[in-house]
């Protein structure tokens, strides 16, 4: 079935038609553009009455004249908040809200407030290739479908509900997560959705991304022809819960279990070097096209367990520095690190911002240690 999103943007349809085409290209999503209604009341009425499975909002709605020729007096953020309020009061249905903005700085602002009414925030300039659009489409699809699912969820029995949402055997779920999740079951749908997306899907931990999966198996994805085959083998352990279409994830617990049972020959995954891991995999699975990942410059260990937030490559935590801002992480969430190389050279610093305060001294030491001598040629 097709999911319909309403896209409210003060720009004219012809100026954003391209973006819409790009998103719709893969199918399953239909986006209808509309200019802001111009005044609050009408905007809500409109949203409440029309049957959409999701709403995309542009952050700035005041730049060009709206439907009635007037300029909107509200931003996308304000509508979003109001929509959530009305959903709480059950005045309207629950549906995903997506934010489109063209300004990096404004996005940062939302990060800080923590009061985010949006399920997804997209920077327009990141939509610069085919796969970016495809990824977005899948997420929109996942959100729409997921909201629907949650809306129809039987919430009488919280633990059953959690199980249904996770699409997974209850016992296997990490204790603390399970407990926390259960407390959300009776909250409004958007709160449940936000919790799942932000704390389970978007953060490595119980669920891990494809990139981290490869790193933990010691594999270099780009060089390994048989990676797709390996993924297929691991399909049973992939996440099949709510929003699965938009987030490819695997249950770490199951992966480790599988390793111990079928591959490791007594060797635990983490303390094993990448080359050894790959050897074992090749041997046990008969897949030749698997290549071990390389160490990042200045790193010494290849017992990869995390991804460097700067270089986006496999790293052993011992070779990394703890990233700042993780004080409020949930216990089931994996910690984030940045490699020495990325830290001293500030590579992709927008993605990790800074090392934790406790690591600052170490960083200074590293900088001194690695300072370079100039030799004129």
């Amino acid at each position: 079935m097709e999911y319909r999103y309403l896209y409210i943007d003060d720009w004219d349809k012809k100026d954003i038609a391209g973006t819409i085409s790009g998103i719709e290209a893969g199918g399953g999503i239909k986006i209808e553009h509309s200019k802001p209604a111009g005044d609050w009341e009408r905007e809500y009425d409109r949203i409440a009455q029309l049957s959409f499975q999701g709403v995309i909002l542009d952050l700035r709605l005041q730049e060009k004249a709206g439907l009635d020729g007037n300029y909107a007096k509200y931003s996308g953020a304000i509508i979003a908040h109001a929509i959530r309020e009305m959903a709480k009061e059950k005045t309207i249905n629950e549906f995903p809200l997506v934010l489109f903005s063209g300004n990096y700085n404004l996005q940062q602002f939302f990060d800080k407030t923590g009061e985010d009414a949006f399920d997804l925030r997209i920077l327009k300039e990141e939509l610069n290739n085919n796969s970016a659009f495809e990824t977005l489409r899948l997420k929109l699809l996942a959100l729409a479908r997921g909201y629907d699912w949650i809306n129809h969820l039987n919430r009488e029995n919280p633990s059953r509900a959690v199980e249904q949402l996770m699409g997974f055997g209850y016992e296997a779920l990490e204790e603390r997560f399970r407990q926390r999740m259960e407390t959300y079951i009776n909250k409004p749908t958007h709160d449940i959705a936000a919790f799942i997306v932000r704390n389970l899907l978007e953060k490595e931990g119980l669920l891990i991304s494809e990139q981290l999966l490869a790193a933990r198996l010691g594999i270099e994805i780009n060089a390994s022809n048989d990676w797709p085959k390996l993924k297929l083998i691991l399909n049973d352990f992939s996440y099949k819960g709510v929003f699965m279409e938009g987030w490819s994830r695997w249950w770490m617990y199951n992966i480790e279990h599988w390793w111990d049972e079928a591959i490791g020959e007594g060797l635990r995954l983490q303390p094993t070097s990448a080359s050894k891991r790959v050897d074992l995999l090749k041997g046990k699975l008969g897949l030749d096209g698997l290549v071990p990942a390389n160490k990042i410059e200045k790193a010494r260990s290849d017992q990869f367990w995390i991804i460097c937030q700067g270089l986006k490559r496999p790293l052993d935590p011992i070779d990394g520095l703890f990233v700042s801002g993780q004080e409020n992480a949930f216990p089931w969430q994996s910690k984030q690190y940045v490699s020495h190389e990325a830290a001293i050279n500030r590579i992709s610093i927008e993605d990790w911002k800074d090392v934790a305060a406790s690591e600052k001294d170490k960083l200074d030491q590293l900088k001194t240690f690695y300072s370079r001598e100039r030799i004129r040629r």
């Binding site: 085409s21 489109f100 327009k124 900088k367």
Partner: protein, 728 residues
């Protein structure tokens, strides 16, 4: 006449007083009369005419006009000169020998002589006659109430005075002819014919020619037995020109120009002008030469030995006589160089990059010049049917190109010179031209005087005030230019912001197309499109970020690694497109902070250096490499910007940071506007100014191996106190 006489056949009779009337009405001014007579000599295929005024300061003087034209036979005298309203010229629009277009008006000559003086003597002889004829006319005899046919004039045969030609002796001149009036008429006549201040080259070109179809007019004045040549006052003025620009195209079509100015210390010879990039020689344009005298009015301080009044007079003269005139085979071609004509596009060519440079006004009014074209066979240039100008064929267009290009290239050089001269000022013989007293110091001197009040301090203070004034003037000029550039900057900010708004939509279309495309070729093309588009976006996004960062006007310590990395990733696409490899290297520690600066100023610095390197690499036609190397030394951060382009010539090494110095050729006549903005000659000057404002330096150093040019920038490091202040 008898009242009773009756004739059945009557004829018109003409009153002799008509001569006088016709004279006055047809000829009018005395200058017109003289010029008509000279034109007659021209029409008679004369090559030289001499005009001599004898004792003419008061009325009653004598005027001799002698030419070496074809002269008149007796018949021509009678049928031509002595017959009023002859139609000779209507029947023969071109002269006999040199096929000249008739310059003189129909049948005016005789009246011209009558207008000028009371008595006329003509002595004329032709080539194949054995003698000359002398005709005398006393215009006083032609009074009213007399039948014109009853008045006779004597004609005599006399010995030949010369081979061929005519001499007019007009005596009892009706007007006084002072030096000034003779000069005026000299100018009036010169307008018609190529002035005698031809350059050597021009006369060389002419002498080389077999047929000397030239026309030269010389004016003399005899007073009290002393003969003086009336030189064109203009010629004397031209010696006072601020600069002389000269150029020529040889018989192979190779063009070059030179510009010289004693006052501005410019001696720039033999600069080539290329027609097109891969076609440097002009295909149709050959053997032309031009010379232009350049003046800047209201700035007598630029000149040596020219007073304010003189300059003002020249300016007045410019209102009528300025411009670049065109002479073809020695004869003026109208309307080129006339007061409202702009055939070289000097007046119209005020594009925005130039507008700020009021230091070098470059309109037709600022030039007294001429272009001489040798086209004896009429091969290259053709006159239009109405005789008003030349046909706009290839040769003519190339001519326009060559002359305007030469002038505009010269302008750049002049700009440099003028800026330097303004800097140096005429205040003192300061050997140390580099040190510019800062405003601070000057104010201090004044303050010292005010506080101490001693006499010696007073003089110091007065000097300081004078210098301050000059400093302020310089700053205002620079400010003017900077304002122009700043306005541009703001526009760019708007533009880049708008551009980024459109990118998601375009990317969306590309993505949609990609998902539809099955064909391998199509997929490839779309991927190219996507990549190309993203390069474009990366470029504009860089400026977008820089500008939005600079919304606050505050300074901050700059982390040099960040700045360089951002810059490199932004222009990588552009560099790769030109086949240029660009890399960065960092040395020393990892926290290289400069003193507080504006981040966007680094954009200017790096971008300017990048543009220069790009051009150098293009000129060198090499596989380009640009490296940006940053590090620290002592209490300084250094950035070396190095490339393997064509290098900086030794002789211009100390000029490259001057305002308006540029090695870029000015953009062509019809170049796109962005090409015109590049090479304004301000890039390095601005870079230097920015750096020096922060107490830094920029200079050239010997490059490392594999590179040719290396700019080194040194900026003080941020102190730990400053870092703390800014929370770093």
């Amino acid at each position: 006449m008898d009242n009773n006489q009756f004739d059945e056949n009557v004829a018109f009779r003409v009153d002799a007083g008509l001569i006088d009337r016709l004279g006055r009405e047809l000829v009018g001014r005395a200058e017109t009369a003289v010029s008509e007579l000279i034109k007659n000599a021209y029409d008679a295929d004369a090559r030289e005419v001499s005009v001599t005024f004898i004792d003419s300061d008061m009325t009653g003087g004598t005027l001799f006009i002698e030419d070496d034209g074809c002269g008149m036979t007796y018949k021509q005298l009678i049928d031509g000169f002595m017959t009023i309203s002859s139609t000779d010229k209507v029947h023969n629009p071109k002269s006999e020998k040199y096929k000249r277009q008739r310059a003189g008006r129909k049948g005016i000559g005789r009246f011209a002589t009558q207008r000028l003086g009371e008595h006329l003597t003509i002595i004329t002889q032709t080539n194949d006659s054995g003698n000359a004829f002398e005709l005398e006319i006393d215009w006083k005899k032609y009074q009213i109430d007399q039948d014109i046919t009853t008045i006779t004039n004597s004609v005599r045969k006399i010995a030949k005075q010369k081979d061929e030609g005519t001499l007019l002796k007009i005596s009892n001149l009706r007007d006084p002819w002072t030096v000034k009036s003779i000069e005026r008429i000299y100018r009036y006549v010169s307008d018609l014919f190529q002035p005698d201040y031809l350059s050597d080259e021009g006369s060389i070109l002419q002498l080389a020619n077999q047929k000397d179809n030239t026309f030269q007019v010389r004016f003399y004045r005899n007073a009290d037995g002393i003969r003086t040549v009336i030189a064109d006052p203009q010629k004397m003025i031209f010696d006072k020109a601020l600069a002389v620009i000269e150029g020529s195209v040889d018989s192979d079509g190779k063009g070059a120009f030179s510009v010289s100015s004693k006052n501005l210390s410019i001696e720039d010879f033999d600069n080539p002008i290329e027609y097109k990039k891969n076609e440097p020689n002009y295909p149709s344009l050959k053997r032309i030469h031009f010379k232009a005298y350049y003046f800047i009015y209201e700035r007598e301080e630029y000149y040596a030995g020219v007073s304010k009044l003189e300059l003002r007079n020249i300016r007045t003269l410019s209102e009528e006589s300025s411009g670049i005139r065109l002479y073809r085979n020695g004869f003026r071609v109208l309307p080129y160089g006339e007061p409202n004509d702009d055939w070289l596009g000097l007046d119209i060519k005020i594009y925005s990059g130039e507008k700020g440079s009021t230091n070098i006004p470059y309109r037709n009014r600022n030039f007294f010049g001429f272009v001489e074209v040798l086209d004896i066979k009429g091969k290259f240039f053709e006159e239009t049917a109405s005789r008003e100008g030349l046909l706009s064929n290839d040769a003519f267009r190339e001519l326009q190109h060559f002359v305007s290009e030469s002038l505009f290239s010269a302008r750049l050089r002049l700009r440099e010179g003028v800026t330097e001269i303004r800097k140096a000022g005429k205040a003192k013989e300061s050997s140390n031209k580099q040190e510019r007293t800062t405003v601070e110091e000057l104010l201090n001197r004044i303050e010292t005087f005010v506080n101490s009040g001693t006499l010696e301090r007073k003089e110091e203070a007065q000097n300081a005030v004078r210098e301050l004034r000059e400093e302020v003037r310089l700053l205002i000029d620079e400010l003017g230019m900077i304002r122009v550039l700043a306005a541009l900057g703001l526009t760019i900010a708007e533009f880049t912001h708008e551009v980024t708004q459109y990118t998601p939509s375009i990317n969306g279309y590309i993505a949609a197309l990609q998902s539809l495309q099955q064909n391998a070729e199509g997929i490839g093309l779309l991927e190219e499109l996507r990549r190309g588009f993203n390069n474009f976006i990366a470029y504009t996004a860089y400026f977008n970020t820089t500008i939005s960062q600079n919304v606050s006007r505050e300074l901050q310590p700059i982390r040099i690694t960040d700045i360089v990395n951002r810059f490199v990733s932004a222009i990588k696409g552009d560099a790769n497109k030109m086949g240029i490899e660009i890399k960065s290297e960092f040395y020393g520690g990892y926290d290289l902070f400069t003193v507080p600066m504006h981040p966007s100023e680094w954009t200017s610095i790096l971008y300017n250096l990048y543009t220069n390197s790009k051009k150098a690499i293009q000129r060198a036609n090499s596989k380009g490499i640009i490296a940006i190397i940053a590090g620290e030394e002592g209490d300084k951060i250094y950035i070396e910007f190095t490339d393997n382009g064509d290098g900086v010539a030794e002789e211009i090494k100390d000029r490259i940071f001057n305002a308006f110095f540029t090695t870029s050729l000015p953009a062509g006549f019809d170049a796109p506007s962005d090409e015109r903005l590049v090479g304004t000659g301000l890039g390095l000057k601005i870079v230097k100014d920015i750096i020096e404002t922060y107490g830094g330096k920029i200079f050239l150093i010997p490059p490392e191996t594999e590179f040719v040019t290396c700019f080194r920038i040194e900026i003080p490091k941020a102190s730990s106190k400053q870092l703390m202040e800014y929370g770093i």
